[in-house]
Structures are given as structure tokens and as C-alpha cells.
């Protein structure tokens, strides 16, 4: 399983790649993109199973990127990251079919665990549970 980290904040993206022992969580390879354009190239090459994506990026946002991914590479799953708890974002993210939605800063163990959970779920094909986790987040507020 391969992971693509998408975040315009270079330091955050690089650190998430280096500081988490991804192998333990079932990830073989980790790629990093600092913008949507480069993320699309990785997906077009067919190397990506799941993306860990920031929502707020200048130019093309994470939401627009997932929309593109669902249209062009339906098999790619997505976990969103954001610093900002906005109802509109979460709502849109659920509609687009993201697997999980994490508020930053978050413990790296929690981020990695969410990635692992999403991969297990994507294998067992249970769409309803991803909605449940996003809905949980929405109503916890």
C-alpha cells in the first residue's frame, strides 16, 4: 500500500513523512506533494492507494483535488487534515467520500492510526462507516 501526503506547508509534509514509522501501519511507500498539480501526477502514474491531504491549499484546494481523484482514480482513498474546524468543509468532505477528517495539530500516532483504519476499511468495502466517522466529528462539536 502506498501513501501520498499532500500539503503546501513543506515542513509539515516532510515531517509527517519522516517522523512516522509508516511500515508499522502497513504502508510500503510514502510520496510527498506540495501542491495539487504534483499530486495528480502521482495518481496518474497509478502509485497511490491513499492520500493524506490538507484541505486549505492556495490555488487548488484539497476538496477540489479529491473531487478530481474520485472522477479519475476512484480507487484512491482520502483522509483529510485541516487546522480549521469548519462545518462547511466537513460537510463537503463527507459528500466527496473522504474516509476520515483530522484536526491539526494531532498526535502522529492518531494520524497514522486513521490511515491504517481507512486502508482496512477500503479493503473490506464498507462505505457507510466512513460517513459515520465524519458524522461523529460533525456532531461532537
Amino acid at each position: 500500500m502506498n501513501l501520498l501526503i499532500v500539503n503546501d506547508e513543506v515542513l509539515t509534509a516532510d515531517t509527517m513523512k519522516d517522523a512516522i514509522s509508516w511500515k508499522i501501519y502497513g504502508i510500503d511507500q510514502v510520496f510527498v506533494s506540495y501542491d495539487a498539480q504534483s499530486a495528480r501526477r502521482y495518481m496518474d502514474a497509478g502509485d497511490v492507494d491513499l492520500m493524506l491531504c490538507d484541505i486549505e491549499m492556495p490555488g487548488e484546494s484539497g476538496l477540489a483535488l479529491l473531487k478530481w481523484a474520485k472522477e479519475n482514480h476512484a480507487e484512491v482513498e482520502c483522509v483529510f487534515l485541516t487546522c480549521h474546524a469548519s462545518f462547511d468543509y466537513a460537510h463537503e468532505a463527507i459528500k466527496l467520500g473522504c474516509r476520515d477528517y483530522i484536526l491539526l495539530p494531532a498526535k502522529y500516532e492518531d494520524i497514522a492510526a486513521a490511515v491504517k483504519k481507512s486502508l482496512i476499511r477500503s479493503v473490506s468495502v464498507d462505505r457507510s462507516s466512513s460517513c459515520a466517522s465524519a458524522a461523529n466529528w460533525l456532531f461532537r462539536k
Binding site: E9, L11, Y34, P58, H84, L104
Partner: protein, 280 residues
């Protein structure tokens, strides 16, 4: 006496009763009965007109008060800015993950300066020199975040540095430039230039970053010519607020112009009259 009772005293009682109702706060109370003489009819009519005016004035007062509170709240949000703060918290967390304690120290010192600057007490404005100091700190922190890809040249005359402005006016432009200008894998050059000529201060904030597409540029221009009401929108709200603050503090003479080309860069030109604290 008995003769006067219906013509004089009874209508007087009506007026007294109405007055008591108004005093109790029932501003909708009106005298409905007809006056038994033209004089009393006039008293009743003018009483009703007065009660009506009272109600309108009270409502307007209340509305003004609400407006004022809304504006105060907005200003507070503008200053504390949860977005900005959460991004910095995330940066500190990331630096901690990397064991970069020197950078964590610097980030926390910047954040302290920033908040000290905001909660500076009662003065409405601060010298530009102080603002430039905070901007310096911001660019240092931005370079942690974008791994030393931002190069800045600050060129402001001493005369301009002494002038006082509402805080964060320039900081907001620099933030905006960093956020929208950075391109992955490339250096971003920022020029911040401040001059004063013929009593008019001009700031140029220019970069060679990713620039705006035609649509975004037009939208930005609409904001700065007052053609857009962004009250309930989230995008561009930072620049819109900056524009409103600039206008409300400096008045008609203040202006913001923007030029941009995609993949080439963006420049903002901000103008306002030179005023010192004393002659304002």
C-alpha cells in the same frame, strides 16, 4: 364643577393614563378615544405622535448599539484570528516532532511579540517601525514553515517608519503574499517598500510568486473599489477587512491597487495620507 367634569377632567385622566402606560414601557399604547373639544383632540393626536417617535428612536438606538457591538466583535476576531493561531500551533507541534528546539523558542518569542503588540492597551495606532519588527518575526517563522525559500527586502524610509497606523495593516499584506505566492520548490522574493511624497505614503508589496488568474485579479480589484459586499463570505475576507480598516481610519484618500500575472507575481500598492498622532 360638575359642568367641567366631562369636558375638562375626564380627558385629562385619559392623558394621565396614557402617560403611565408609556412610563411602564408599553410604547405601543395609543389614545383611541376622540377628544370632546378641538383642543383636547389636538392634545391626543400630539400625544400619539410623540409615543410613535419615542418608539422609533428607541429602536434606532438599539440598532446602532447592535451594530457597534458587531463591529467590536469583528475587530476582536480580526486581531486574534483563530486561523493564524492554529497554523502557528501546528508549526510548533511539527518543530517539536523534529526536535528543533531553537526554532520552537524563536516561534514562541514571535508569538509573544505579536500578542503583546495586539493587546498593547488603549492606543489605536502604532508606529510603522514596530509593525515592521513584527513582520520580520513573521517572515522568520514562515521560513521555518517553507524551509528557507522566502527572501525579503524591506526598504522603508525613516520618515515613514515614524508614522502611526492601525496595527497589522501591513502584516496582513505580507501574510497574504506568503500564503498565495509560495510555489513548491522555488524561492519567493518579496519586496516591501515604503515612501512618502507630498504628504502621501505609498507602500509597495510585490512578489515573484504564483500570481493570480484573471478572475481572482478582477475579484480583488472589485473588493478594493467597494463593488463587493463580502460580509458573509469566507474567501478574501482578510483583504476585505484590511481595506475597510484602511478606509475607516484614513478616509477617502486611502486606496489599494493590485497588479498580477499568473506565474509571474503580484503587487499591491497601498496609499494613505501621512499623519502623525498629534495632528489627527
Amino acid at each position: 364643577m360638575l359642568v367641567y367634569q366631562p369636558v375638562l377632567l375626564a380627558p385629562l385622566k385619559t392623558v394621565t393614563r396614557a402617560n403611565r402606560e408609556i412610563q411602564k414601557g408599553n410604547l405601543d399604547y395609543r389614545i383611541t378615544e376622540k377628544g370632546k373639544s378641538p383642543e383636547y383632540e389636538e392634545v391626543f393626536t400630539s400625544f400619539n405622535a410623540m409615543a410613535h417617535d419615542l418608539k422609533t428612536t428607541k429602536f434606532e438606538c438599539y440598532q446602532k448599539e447592535t451594530e457597534k457591538q458587531k463591529l467590536a466583535l469583528r475587530n476582536l476576531q480580526l486581531q486574534i484570528r483563530p486561523h493564524f493561531l492554529l497554523n502557528i500551533f501546528n508549526l510548533i507541534y511539527t518543530l517539536a516532532q523534529r526536535n528543533q528546539s531553537a526554532q520552537i523558542e524563536d516561534t514562541i518569542l514571535y508569538l509573544s511579540n505579536y500578542f503583546r503588540y495586539l493587546f498593547r492597551g488603549n492606543s489605536e495606532t502604532e508606529p510603522i517601525e514596530k509593525e515592521l519588527d513584527i513582520i520580520d518575526g513573521y517572515l522568520m517563522v514562515a521560513n521555518f514553515r517553507y524551509r528557507n525559500t522566502i527572501k525579503t527586502q524591506i526598504d522603508v524610509t525613516d520618515e515613514v517608519k515614524r508614522m502611526c497606523i492601525p496595527p497589522l495593516l501591513l502584516h496582513n499584506f505580507v501574510e497574504n503574499t506568503v500564503k498565495h505566492g509560495v510555489r513548491s520548490g522555488e524561492e519567493l522574493h518579496i519586496l516591501l517598500k515604503g515612501r512618502c511624497e507630498n504628504g502621501l505614503v505609498t507602500f509597495l508589496i510585490a512578489d515573484d510568486g504564483s500570481g493570480m488568474d484573471e478572475q481572482t485579479l478582477l475579484r480583488n480589484r472589485a473588493i478594493f473599489s467597494n463593488d463587493l459586499d463580502l460580509e458573509n463570505e469566507k474567501e478574501h475576507i482578510g483583504l476585505y477587512d484590511t481595506y475597510r480598516r484602511l478606509k475607516s481610519y484614513f478616509g477617502e484618500q486611502a486606496s489599494i491597487e493590485v497588479e498580477s500575472k499568473q506565474n509571474q507575481g503580484t503587487s499591491f500598492t497601498v496609499c494613505f495620507p501621512y499623519i502623525t498622532r498629534r495632528n489627527r
